[in-house]
């Protein structure tokens, strides 16, 4: 535990007043409220989305604009030298625990995947202590992963329960799993992994450059990182296209589709966020000349986030694609 000298405390900057929080609240609440309206119109309504989209987009725009202003202000304060070392540490802690909370968010989905694959699947097929008698309900259901036939399809009924799978994702040979790819070099997830892992490496190189005070090196490698991020998103979009168009794998394809799209989807969303963050840092550096060897928290935070996204992918690759 390092103890601060009391001079540092005097400089702890407590902003006097700020409209940011209220604006961010208006944006956040409008966008979530709008999103809820849109979904309800879609599922329960008559399809007429009266104004819901409007509320949603207004909220989202307002929210993004506020966040933009918020970060800009924080950056300006830093440039103006208002941030003591102690305040900077607060930011570091904030970012660290934010990433920790994101880890826990993903944990929920990985936990669900684990539970479904190792316990529920066999139980539904009448195996194991939790499902000795389940064959009475799902006669003919055999458990496999990926799941070509959901229990409901196995008993041949879509009548009574809300539809799952709709019979489109049936070909287990065409799944996204490695063993089934026609040739290794056609296996998209592997390319995705390569792209993302190397981007983690390039962002590290950029960081080293910055630490050496070599801004040119920093800008180039950070630019490459952002480009790799974009490439990843593009490849992932291709992957989704293939899933829907060629494999018949959709959100409706039972639990395999559910877990597949939730995990990759949220990961993809986080990649886009991380990429945007890095892009902004790149613009700051290239256009605004920000960052020095010993003051570059915005970049550091974004790069931690990027590494986090990368680590999540490694687990995803392992548990969703390989195993």
């Amino acid at each position: 535990m390092t103890t601060q000298s009391s001079t540092e405390y005097e400089k702890y900057y407590v902003p006097e007043k700020s409209k940011l929080a209220v604006c961010a609240t208006i944006g956040l609440i409008s966008s979530t409220f709008g999103a809820a309206n849109v979904m309800n119109d879609m599922t329960f309504g008559d399809g007429a989305t009266t104004g819901s989209w409007g509320i949603f987009w207004f909220g989202l725009f307002f929210f993004s604009a506020t966040l933009f202003g918020w970060f800009r202000m924080a950056i300006k304060e830093n440039l103006a030298g208002m941030n003591s070392a102690q305040l900077k540490k607060s930011y570091v802690l904030g970012m660290f625990w934010f990433i920790f909370s994101e880890v826990m968010f993903f944990l929920a989905f990985f936990g669900a995947l684990f539970y479904v694959r190792t316990l529920v699947g066999p139980w539904l097929a009448g195996e194991g202590e939790g499902g000795r008698m389940n064959h009475l309900l799902w006669e003919g259901f055999n458990y496999q992963w990926p799941m070509p036939l959901t229990p409901q399809e196995a008993v041949g009924g879509v009548a009574n329960q809300p539809v799952a799978n709709m019979g489109t994702f049936q070909s287990y040979e065409q799944s996204m799993a490695f063993g089934e790819a026609a040739a290794w070099y056609l296996w998209l997830p592997m390319w995705n992994t390569i792209v993302l892992l190397s981007s983690s490496f390039t962002v590290h190189v950029a960081h080293m450059g910055l630490l050496d005070g070599n801004k040119r090196k920093f800008n180039i490698w950070l630019g490459i990182t952002v480009a790799l991020g974009m490439l990843f998103v593009a490849l992932q979009a291709l992957e989704y296209y293939e899933a829907y168009a060629h494999f018949g794998l959709t959100l409706n394809s039972g639990i395999y589709g559910s877990t597949f799209f939730m995990l990759t989807g949220f990961h993809g969303f986080h990649v886009i966020m991380g990429m945007t963050m890095l892009l902004i840092q790149w613009l700051r550096s290239v256009r605004g000349g920000h960052f020095t060897a010993d003051d570059h928290f915005g970049f550091e935070a974004s790069s931690w986030y990027w590494h986090f996204v990368d680590v999540v992918w490694v687990f995803l690759f392992l548990f969703v694609y390989i195993l």
């Binding site: 535990m1 103890t3 000298s5 009391s6 405390y9 005097e10 702890y12 900057y13 407590v14 006097e16 007043k17 700020s18 929080a21 209220v22 609240t25 956040l28 609440i29 979530t32 409220f33 809820a36 979904m39 879609m42 599922t43 208002m82 102690q86 305040l87 607060s90 930011y91 802690l93 904030g94 625990w97 934010f98 920790f100 909370s101 826990m104 968010f105 929920a108 989905f109 936990g111 669900a112 479904v116 529920v120 202590e129 939790g130 799902w138 799941m147 959901t150 229990p151 809300p162 799952a164 799978n165 959709t250 959100l251 409706n252 039972g254 639990i255 559910s258 877990t259 799209f261 939730m262």
Partner: protein, 520 residues
């Protein structure tokens, strides 16, 4: 910028735009109290309907909405924000910090709460009614069979979660980074310690809750099958995820309460806490164990027997660190020189009633016996003993204890004591008989019951009205104190009080510790 020395701004903008931890703390406290009244109003409707057998006041569908909203509003609206408010007020003062670490985010964490609850309460007026699936919202009742308002419920949970996560990050950053020189971890007041650990719990489990409601959202609107066996999922999966959040949640509720009690008892016993170190370790142990016991809420779902045993043993273990706390409080009183002002009375009410609630918790943790207790009123009795007599009592104690410091006026002691005794008696009349009806077989979440339970239910309802009415007294006392209480300017309101918060002026100035104190 730069000029920290003037006081608060005037008017509404002071509250909307503030970054001051005391203002934000005050807003949290008032907000949570209003939610307590709202949740209490729902409870009064529940108790009024259950006053007699037969359906009298409300329809079964509405009754379920009341139960659900009561649970949600009390847990997420009343208790959690009240302790966050307390943390905002007290933590910077207790560790000698000028403010919270991230003041603007602090304001944001608060301001997203009211609209989120507005949306939640607004569901009452929506077609199909408010959420009606219990505060535990088990799928598929909360997915396939839910009213459309469930979508709004899901989003408001998301927002509440965001608020809690940001609030906790702020607290962690404050405690880890803003302590005055010399304020080492092992010198921090216990309230700060319990909150630090609570904040860890929150950051760890709120995202999991967010994951759970997101899966619900996908099942409802986008055709996934997480919680439907037909598509290869499992409704019980929902319960696992929910309780992975839900069990730590109950310790999120009680740990700050432990902290409050650990501050107050030494003050009025005029004697230092018996075992500071072991209190800290016990808190950490409880937090750790809370992650591996969640399935004790699910003994009857048909888990394999090995799972039952594991969760039973792990749950029982929690009695050990909790016991350490209880024993510590009692030995702190031992051979002290006690006086019994209102905060102390509430703490002793807490001590007795929480321990009883802990004992029933221990009974519930015994899996085979829980087959009989589960989802009966015995469980309802258990959790109101720990949450009302635990969290709410300690919150009342905290308010009385620190109110003079907050507003520079002394509350009316007689009224305070009256509030305590009516609460204590009313509380026990309400919830003690619920043990009996529960053991005799009355399920929870029912709007109407068999005749054999009639007498105890009537008793319980009467008690609830008494307890509820005593809260009016509380509200009155607090407002009267703020408006017209006897002014006091003693820095140290209580003779035996220790800690930095008692070294600053009374009422506490708008900005405290702009230069950090030196802690020996």
């Amino acid at each position: 910028m730069g000029d920290h020395h003037h006081g608060p701004a005037k008017g509404l903008s002071r509250w909307l735009f503030t970054t001051n931890h005391k203002d934000i703390g005050t807003m949290y406290l008032w907000f949570s109290f209003s939610m307590f009244i709202l949740g209490g109003a729902f409870a009064m409707i529940i108790r009024a309907e259950l006053f007699q057998p037969g359906m009298q006041l409300v329809e079964p569908a509405f009754f379920n909405q009341m139960t659900t909203l009561h649970g949600l509003v009390m847990v997420f609206g009343a208790i959690m924000p009240s302790f966050v408010g307390l943390a905002n007020w007290m933590i910077p003062m207790m560790i000698g910090a000028p403010d919270m670490a991230l003041p603007r985010m602090n304001n944001w964490s608060f301001w997203i709460l009211p609209p989120a609850f507005l949306i939640l309460a607004g569901t009452l007026f929506m077609e199909g009614g408010a959420p009606n699936f219990g505060w535990t919202f088990y799928a598929p009742l909360s997915t396939t069979y839910a009213p459309p308002s469930v979508t709004y419920f899901i989003f408001s949970i998301h927002v509440l979660g965001l608020s809690s996560i940001m609030g906790s990050i702020n607290i962690i950053a404050t405690v880890m980074n803003m302590r005055a020189p010399g304020m080492t971890y092992m010198k921090m007041p216990l309230f700060v310690w319990t909150w630090l650990i609570t904040a860890f719990l929150l950051v760890a489990v709120m995202p999991v809750l967010a994951g759970a409601v997101t899966m619900m959202l996908m099942d409802i609107h986008f055709g996934t099958s997480f919680f439907s066996a037909a598509g290869g999922g499992d409704p019980v999966l929902f319960q696992h995820i929910f309780w992975f959040f839900g069990h730590p949640e109950v310790y999120i509720i009680i740990l700050p309460a432990f902290g409050v009690v650990s501050q107050i008892i030494p003050t009025f016993a005029r004697k230092p806490l018996f075992g500071y170190d072991s209190m800290v370790y016990a808190t950490a142990a409880i937090a750790f164990l809370s992650f591996i016991v969640w399935a004790h809420h699910m003994y009857t779902v048909g888990m394999p027997v090995a799972g039952e045993l594991f969760f039973m043993y792990a749950t029982m273990l929690i009695a050990v660190p909790t016991g350490v706390k209880v024993f510590n409080w009692v030995t702190t009183m031992w051979r002290g020189a006690m006086t019994f002002e209102t905060p102390m009375l509430f703490c002793m009410g807490f001590l007795v009633l929480f321990t009883i609630g802990g004992f029933t918790g221990l009974m519930l943790s015994i899996a085979p016996a829980d087959f009989q207790y589960h989802d009966s009123y015995f469980v309802v009795a258990h959790f109101h003993y720990v949450m009302v007599a635990g969290a709410v009592f300690s919150m009342s104690a905290a308010v009385y204890y620190w109110l003079p410091k907050w507003c520079g006026r002394m509350y009316n002691e007689t009224m305070g004591k009256t509030h305590f005794w009516i609460s204590f008696i009313g509380f026990n009349i309400t919830f003690f008989p619920q043990h009996f009806v529960g053991l005799a077989g009355m399920p929870r979440r029912i709007p109407d019951y068999a005749l054999q339970f009639a007498d105890f239910n009537m008793m319980s309802s009467i008690g609830a009205f008494i307890y509820g009415a005593s809260q009016i007294l509380f509200l009155y006392n607090v407002i009267a104190t703020i408006v017209a209480g006897k002014p006091t300017s003693e820095a140290k309101t209580w003779e035996g009080a220790e800690g930095l918060e008692w070294t600053v002026a009374t009422p506490a100035p708008y900005h405290t510790f702009e230069t950090p104190p030196q802690v020996r």
